[in-house]
């Protein structure tokens, strides 16, 4: 009896993983379809010389061309002649993927503990400035060359992680000991992070040789190096070493969540807070710990943004933290799935730069798409209804009969 029950459970678990993948793909397709309509209609309001004429109305944008540029442009147009896998756009895509793995993991770790960390963006902003400043000051006392590199890069990443972790611990502590809702506090802390960093920049760290709001560049040897011959050339700010680190962290977090007692406590306090408390898990400490970990990963994202992409800190930090939310939700907050979904969003991100050069369509399209993807992933019921109309979902009904009520509950998404 018991074994049969376990077998049934295991089959259900596998089915639910498959179902989640299916829902993610369906969400992606659905948002793309809305995107097609949006781009086409928007083209009717834009002005252009040539376009598709329908009943005296000119539609300027061709959605097919937009998606061609968005996806294949992000890979450097592989269908066209003279394509080389190590091209500029490919490097851009992988560069964004690397950063999005970090921000996606940051959201996922908190989500697994039952917390919404909307503040990855703020943690990234604070962490990245700390990284830049730490490396700049340390470079004055550390020798240059390989030794400097081996000291400065880990130091910079550590500084970013510490600062981001501290900034993430604030909403964690406010939630645990003050009962403040972390969704609102982290969003507010995003605004505060922007205010604090720009104040610090103009107060002390502004590059005197530049009129743009940014810090002085870190020394060349403190930037994350590319591997000669194997990797992309130096003209693109992407390093395979950084991607390897991101993937290693991804695997590390998976291991942490599934194989350690800390991960077990984190997950149970997310899915079954009462049971966790009964089992001796200190929920308050867990809240602070998971938010700190989440913030530290956000800070690491900032460190890589500084040390790999720009070599200094700029005031206009891209919205990597918010994209990380989409990355993580699309992967149903599964650390390993984040790799796939970060690659997808990395493609979208680099493709959006490509559509703004190759077409007249505003690159903000990608922001809308990622919002739509989140929306569709949030309503699995939508696809179940559509799917149920065409496919006989045979084994679902008996499942519903004994535990179906939880289908729409939030607990469903949090465990995997």
């Amino acid at each position: 009896m018991r074994r049969r029950f376990e077998r049934l459970l295991r089959r259900l678990l596998r089915a639910s993983v498959l179902e989640r993948i299916a829902i993610s793909i369906a969400a992606l397709v659905a948002s793309m379809l809305i995107g097609v309509v949006l781009v086409f209609v928007a083209g009717g309001f834009a002005s252009c010389r040539v376009g598709l004429d329908v009943a005296g109305w000119t539609f300027c944008y061709n959605p097919m061309q937009v998606y061609y540029e968005l996806f294949l442009g992000a890979l450097g147009h592989p269908l066209e002649a003279g394509w080389h896998p190590l091209n500029f756009w490919m490097a851009k895509t992988l560069q964004q993927t690397t950063l999005l793995i970090f921000t996606g993991l940051s959201f996922a770790v908190a989500y697994r503990a039952g917390l919404f960390n909307i503040g990855t963006q703020g943690q990234l902003v604070v962490g990245s400035l700390t990284t830049a400043v730490t490396v700049l000051y340390a470079a004055a006392v550390v020798p240059g060359g390989l030794v400097g590199m081996l000291i400065l890069i880990p130091l910079g990443v550590l500084a970013g992680a510490v600062a981001g972790g501290f900034f993430g611990a604030i909403p964690g502590a406010l939630k645990a000991y003050g009962g403040a809702n972390e969704v609102i506090t982290t969003i507010m802390l995003n605004f505060i992070a922007v205010g604090i960093t720009s104040t610090l920049l103009s107060w002390k760290f502004q590059d005197p040789n530049s009129s743009n709001p940014k810090t002085a560049p870190v020394p060349e040897y403190a930037e994350i190096p590319t591997i000669p011959y194997v990797g992309f050339d130096d003209s693109v700010s992407f390093s395979l070493l950084a991607l390897a680190f991101a993937v290693a962290l991804m695997i590390g977090i998976t291991w942490l969540l599934t194989r350690t007692s800390f991960g077990y406590e984190l997950r149970t306090s997310g899915t079954q807070p009462e049971a966790a408390a009964y089992g001796g898990v200190d929920e308050k400490r867990m809240t602070v710990a998971s938010m700190t970990l989440s913030g530290a990963i956000g800070g690491i994202a900032g460190a890589f943004w500084v040390l790999m992409v720009h070599g200094n800190w700029l005031k206009n930090v891209p919205a990597l933290g918010f994209d990380g939310i989409a990355v993580s939700i699309l992967a149903s907050n599964n650390p390993l799935g984040i790799g796939v979904s970060a690659l997808l969003f990395g493609t979208l991100e680099s493709g959006s730069q490509n559509i703004s050069t190759a077409t007249d369509v505003p690159p903000e399209l990608v922001g809308i798409l990622s919002g739509l993807i989140i929306l569709f992933v949030a309503m699995p019921e939508f696809f179940r209804m559509i799917g149920g109309r065409y496919v006989d979902v045979g084994n679902r009904d008996p499942v519903r009969a004994d535990g179906g009520e939880t289908a729409g509950d939030d607990g469903g998404e949090a465990d995997a």
Binding site: F116, M188, F191, G367, L375, A378, M385, E405, D410
Partner: protein, 348 residues
């Protein structure tokens, strides 16, 4: 932990008249002691916060947490500006100024978005927090997207603002006359909406249904009222109020829409959420909270323009820091019992 504000609340319940009188005296002291320019700015800046808060109260009281209210503010502010621009700012159709048509368009668009949000949450049982977040992110992308198509820039052109409405005689009253009766129309809308919100919750059966739908949907269902319909109505109302707030603020204060970064709304929708939590879902309390945050905002704008040697970027975060302090102080506000949960008739 004891809620530090519960004392005030129970005092109000026991002795409403002295508490109201005390509040009036405090308000009068403020009116007497502070500069008229700061007061006027506070009133205008309170508009989006107070209206979004009223909308948020309706949605959340009915059991649907609408964290996407910032998105509703963004779409309504943007569409009101762009419709006014298309019709021709400063002109009028059917003897109604195009600013008012813009306001109507803003409210309609915001209501449409709220309706879609309601479908997603009620019909398809989406996770309300994630769906609300998605609503915000979609609006954050959509406004600059359309703006770039129309204006070739994430920022729209300017369309001017509403003309002030002056009520004769009343505007000659000392202290409050100039502030309340010689003021742009969105301020009247805000004060009217607060009154409507208070009336609906306290004097109508719909208000009681909304509360029941958030506290005990099963009981409401048993009483023969369709929980789904009540929730739909409440979420749509949140779209109407947020639309009035966003469009009124855009046409009565901003005059243009900046689509870069956090957009021109700068997180006022989230401040509105903190506001109604602070007020424990009471419409008049939400107005007070909106004045608090708007006053801070007006103060930081005045400090900036007055040229004090304080870093402006840091001062700009003061309202956001206050939100956090407020949330910590009243963090234990009790959400409606069924908030965030989907309800399906017939389940048990």
């Amino acid at each position: 932990m004891r809620n530090p504000f519960s004392g005030v609340r129970s005092l109000y319940a026991r002795r409403p008249i002295p508490v109201i009188l005390g509040a009036v005296i405090v308000v009068l002291c403020f009116l007497w002691g502070t500069s008229p320019g700061w007061q006027a700015a506070t009133l205008r800046l309170a508009v989006p916060i107070a209206l979004a808060a009223i909308g948020g109260i309706f949605a959340e009281k009915s059991g649907v947490i609408n964290i996407g209210i910032e998105g509703l503010l963004i779409v309504s502010a943007f569409s009101s500006i762009i419709v006014t621009y298309w019709l021709g700012a400063g002109e009028s159709t059917l003897a109604i100024s195009h600013h008012w048509w813009g306001l109507l368009a803003g409210v309609l668009v915001s209501t449409l978005f709220a309706f879609l949000f309601a479908i997603v949450c009620i019909e398809f049982k989406a996770d309300q927090i994630i769906a609300g977040l998605a609503l915000w992110l979609i609006a954050l992308g959509l406004a600059p997207f359309i703006s770039r198509i129309v204006f070739n820039s994430p920022n729209t052109a300017g369309v001017g603002r509403f003309e002030d409405v002056t009520i004769p005689l009343l505007s000659d009253l000392p202290l409050i006359g100039h502030l309340l009766f010689d003021t742009p129309p969105q301020v009247y809308i805000m004060l009217g909406a607060i009154a409507v919100g208070w009336y609906v919750f306290n004097r109508t059966s719909f208000g009681r249904w909304v509360v029941a739908s958030g506290e005990n949907p099963k009981a409401l269902d048993t009483a023969g009222v369709d929980v789904r319909k009540v929730r739909y109505a409440a979420v749509i109302l949140s779209g109407v109020f947020a639309g009035l707030g966003g469009a009124g603020f855009a046409l009565g204060y901003l005059e243009t829409f900046a689509g870069g970064g956090d957009t021109a709304m700068q997180g006022r929708g989230f401040i509105a959420i903190a506001t109604y939590l602070l007020a424990n879902y009471h419409p008049i309390g939400a107005l007070g909270g909106a004045f608090l945050f708007a006053g801070l905002d007006a103060l930081q704008i005045r400090l900036q323009t007055a040229g004090y040697a304080v870093p402006t970027e840091l001062i700009r975060t003061v309202p956001h820091m206050t939100v956090i302090v407020v949330l910590v102080l009243i963090g234990r506000t009790r959400l409606p019992e069924a908030a965030g949960e989907n309800y399906e008739s017939g389940e048990d």
